[in-house]
């Protein structure tokens, strides 16, 4: 494996430049989006408010859109044998009329309406809960290792995963929805799994650091591999199955969730085996006196 050789070939400080560059790029992407839209990632309809309707139809896109003339239609897309229509904010009575119209004209519609209070509350919740989740994770990590530098390395790798996953949302056009928030929180918890494995192996086992890192890599790749192989079916079932089997439908929540997870998991491979591993190499290779805290 190439990554395996790279890990031990170059001095840690040199290798650390790569993750630092990636984090900087991610921050630039998030910052640029923040400056242009007011939030670091693009907000989906749940966070901006509005109405989302999907209806089954064999008619043309324009014909379906025409049925909803008079309502603030902002987007229409074909998702399998259904159309997804997105509406901007409207009054309560307009919404009730829209719901009635949709139910009278289409066989089995799906409707989701997010009022301004809902989306405002959701924004506040996301701002409150994502950091809480991260802090809780960091606390557990510190409790597990009781080693400030080792714990910090794990937490930094996790942070890099989240930043990369969030930045990749901007690049792929995935918007922040309830599903993607769930995926980001899932990543916060999950991304440290391999870091914990790596750090435990390096700290608790005897032998050369590079060998221990390589050994942990075998297990770690397998772990990320099984998770990715569980997430890929989710992507296929939610996002692509409808292209093959016309009676199936795109499942937005699951599609967004699994896309973010895949990016986060990919970032996790890199951050665990480069960012965290190099940090550990550097930490273990430091002059002995710096290792006072760590007694065998």
């Amino acid at each position: 494996m190439e990554l395996q050789d790279i890990v031990s070939k170059y001095p840690p400080k040199q290798l650390m430049l790569i993750p630092i560059a990636i984090i900087v790029l991610a921050l630039i992407s998030l910052g640029a989006t923040y400056l242009s839209t007011g939030s670091p990632v693009k907000l989906g309809i749940e966070f901006t408010g509005g109405t989302l309707i999907t209806v089954p139809s064999t008619e043309s896109q324009n014909a379906v859109a025409a049925q909803f003339a008079g309502y603030p239609l902002s987007d229409i897309r074909n998702i399998g044998n259904r159309y997804m229509l997105q509406f901007g904010p409207m009054s309560d009575s307009d919404y009730t009329d829209l719901a009635k119209l949709t139910n009278s004209k289409f066989e089995s519609p799906e409707i989701r309406h997010m009022g301004p209070i809902y989306s405002k509350e959701l924004q506040a919740q996301a701002l409150r809960y994502i950091p809480v989740s991260f802090i809780l994770m960091a606390l557990v990590v510190f409790l597990v290792f009781r080693e400030p530098i080792v714990s910090l390395l794990v937490v930094v790798s996790a942070l890099a995963d989240i930043l990369t996953a969030a930045a990749s949302m901007n690049i792929t056009g995935v918007q922040l929805s309830l599903g993607t928030v769930a995926a980001l929180l899932m990543l916060i918890g999950y991304s440290v799994d391999t870091d914990i494995l790596l750090s435990m192996r390096v700290l608790k086992r005897k032998g050369a650091t590079d060998d221990k890192i390589k050994g942990a890599m075998g297990t770690g790749f397998m772990m990320t591999g099984t998770t990715i192989s569980a997430v890929i079916p989710l992507i296929i079932a939610s996002n692509f199955l409808y292209l093959i089997i016309p009676s199936f439908t795109r499942m937005d929540v699951i599609a967004d969730m699994s896309t973010v997870l895949i990016f986060g998991l990919a970032a996790d491979i890199f951050n665990t085996w480069v960012t965290n591993a190099q940090g550990l190499r550097w930490y273990m290779d430091r002059p002995r006196k710096a290792l006072r805290g760590q007694k065998k």
């Binding site: 557990v140 998770t227 989710l234």
Partner: protein, 578 residues
């Protein structure tokens, strides 16, 4: 394919001893029992699916309201409201002096019953008995068109059950020289837990009365109420929640006959239930002017004013009797002379009376909610679409399980490892479903789209932990998976030999146990981070992701507590047998 004919027989014997040995292990026994119990739960209770998989609508309501302290003198309020020249307080009463004449109904219009109005020398003196807080409450009610309730004493806190801010409240108090005192304690958004519960009860009783099955009313954050209604489109759902019930008062004529008196539109307002000094409870209500006349006419026509004890007044909501009692003698006497607007339905004394009064209060309001609510979100999924989602997710779950099994096989190439791993992973899913089947029946947990996605993610993370255990035990991590010079089996055998597993019983080998405990340190760390990161999701998104978070947290706990310890033992024995 690795084994020859001869070794197969030996393997069979080994399996026998494996089963014997494992059946003595406490962890394995607990695990087998847990899976069996889960299967029984699933078979007996069945799985309950959420709205997004079964079809139906949901409404998300926000309760509006705030609690505030108020600095104001009741005399000022009365002076302002009655346009009075002077207000004096005498004990429990206020004496209001108004220049000129006023309508005799003015006190009643402003919410004061039993006031004495005396007119002399072109001035009117009104004497009314009311506590200072009642004056403030009446003023707020009148101007906010909402219920106001006292929810705290010393300092007195008023709960205003509609959308109100500190600024709007101060603006309202300005003409009467009052204000909300400074400080964060003096004003807080949101209503009390009791009020939220009361609102939930009103909704519950209303939806139950309409005979709607399968309706779930849930409170989130003490501020939002979520209503799930199976098999109903969203427009109908909004109608049902917003539509008042049909209220009717009837009066007994002769024998068991009764006649119609009035409908709900004649009830102008209903007051919060009150207990009197003797411990009796009642619900005061106010009739409109026409309503009062209708009531008087019916009481006289039926003969109730003459013989009140023989004429029961009955109240019905959607044809169900909610109250029935004879006309009070005192009221009968008054009705003989005039129409009465302020009435009270007396229900009895003690705790029973208090409960009855609260119920009647809800019914009298025809299911109108005690708090002003706004619909903040709503939606619907059709049953057909939900069914399709379910099929797609089950398909995704099966593919995920297969893909994970494929990954394991690719790495270990050893069915003695792959089989227990896949079995453990599958059994974890069974345990989760078992918990959901049980909780679904008794607490109403449902499997929605998000929780199905949660199960699939747990398959992924669960197998990770099995990989950690296996690798730690065989030290497979020391070499790369592609290193095929030494098969995993060989390494396992070598590891077991090193651990002294062949000679001594594997489960008691020191090396084996220390490796297992190291594996569990990693697993516990990993499981704990995953679970705590999910905690906030339990509360986020108005419960939309509670299922996802809950199933991941529970799946992780079940895995760490039951499935993985057993797996550690089983795989240890299997590895040692080569």
């Amino acid at each position: 394919m690795v084994y020859g004919q001869a070794s197969k027989g030996a393997e069979g014997a080994e399996k026998m001893s494996l089963v014997n040995e494992l059946s003595k292990d406490r962890r394995v026994v607990i695990y087998v029992a847990a899976v069996a119990l889960a299967l029984i739960f699933i078979a007996v209770f069945g799985l309950k699916f959420g709205l997004d998989l079964e079809g139906g609508s949901y409404l998300q309501l926000q309760l509006q309201g705030a609690r505030a302290q108020i600095d104001v003198s009741p005399e000022n309020i009365l002076k302002f409201q009655f346009n009075a020249s002077d207000v004096e307080k005498h004990g429990d009463s206020f004496v209001i002096t108004i220049p000129g004449k006023v309508e005799a109904t003015l006190p009643e219009d402003l919410g004061y019953s039993g006031a004495k109005v005396v007119e002399r020398d072109n001035t009117t003196k009104i004497t009314l008995t009311a506590a200072s807080e009642t004056v403030v409450t009446n003023y707020l009610k009148k101007n906010m068109d909402a219920d106001v309730k006292i929810v705290g004493v010393a300092p007195i806190i008023y709960e205003i059950r509609t959308n109100v801010t500190r600024e709007s409240l101060n603006a309202l108090l300005l003409p009467v020289g009052g204000k909300v005192p400074a400080g964060d304690d003096a004003f807080s958004e949101g209503v009390t837990t009791e009020t939220v519960d009361e609102t939930k009860k009103v909704l519950d009783s209303k939806l139950n009365r309409l005979g709607l099955q399968d309706i779930k009313v849930k409170v989130v954050d003490n501020k939002f109420i979520l209503i799930d209604m199976a098999g109903m489109d969203v427009a109908t759902a909004q109608d049902v929640v917003g539509k008042p019930g049909k209220f009717e008062i009837r009066i007994q004529t002769e024998n068991n006959q009764s006649m119609h008196v009035l409908y709900g539109d004649a009830v102008e307002s209903v007051e919060i239930p009150q207990g009197d000094r003797n411990g009796g409870w009642g619900v005061p209500f106010v009739l409109s002017e026409e309503g009062a006349q209708l009531f008087q006419k019916a009481a006289i026509d039926s003969g109730a004013t003459k013989k009140p004890d023989d004429h029961y007044i009955s109240m019905y909501l959607d044809k169900d009797e909610i109250f029935s009692a004879p006309l009070a003698a005192e009221l009968a006497g008054s009705l003989q002379k005039a129409a009465i607007r302020n009435m009270e339905a007396r229900v009895g004394a003690g705790d029973a009376g208090s409960t009855k009064a609260k119920e009647l209060y809800i019914h009298l309001r025809e299911g109108a909610l005690p708090v002003n609510v706004v619909v903040v979100g709503s939606g619907q999924v059709s049953a057909a679409l939900g069914k399709q989602f379910k099929i797609q997710m089950i398909l995704a779950g099966l593919i995920a399980l297969l893909a994970v099994a494929g990954m394991i096989y690719y790495r270990y190439r050893e069915k003695r490892i792959v089989l227990p791993m896949v079995t453990t992973s599958t059994s974890e899913v069974i345990m989760m479903l078992g918990v959901w089947a049980f909780m679904g029946t008794f607490v109403g947990w449902k499997l929605d789209l998000a929780s199905l996605a949660g199960i699939i993610t747990v398959i992924g993370t669960g197998v990770d932990q099995l990989v950690i255990i296996t690798d730690e035990l065989i030290r497979g991590g020391e070499a790369m998976p592609a290193a095929s010079e030494r098969s995993i089996k060989e390494r396992a055998a070598a590891a077991a030999e090193k651990a002294g597993a062949v000679k001594v019983s594997p489960a008691s080998s020191k090396v084996y146990l220390s490796r297992l405990s190291r594996a569990f340190t990693i697993i516990l760390g990993a499981a704990a981070t995953t679970a705590v990161a999910m905690l906030p999701l339990l509360y986020m998104g108005f419960g939309a992701l509670t299922g996802f978070a809950l199933i991941i947290i529970l799946g992780v706990i079940l895995g760490v507590a039951i499935a993985r310890p057993a797996y550690g033992r089983i795989i240890g024995h299997i590895l040692a047998q080569n």
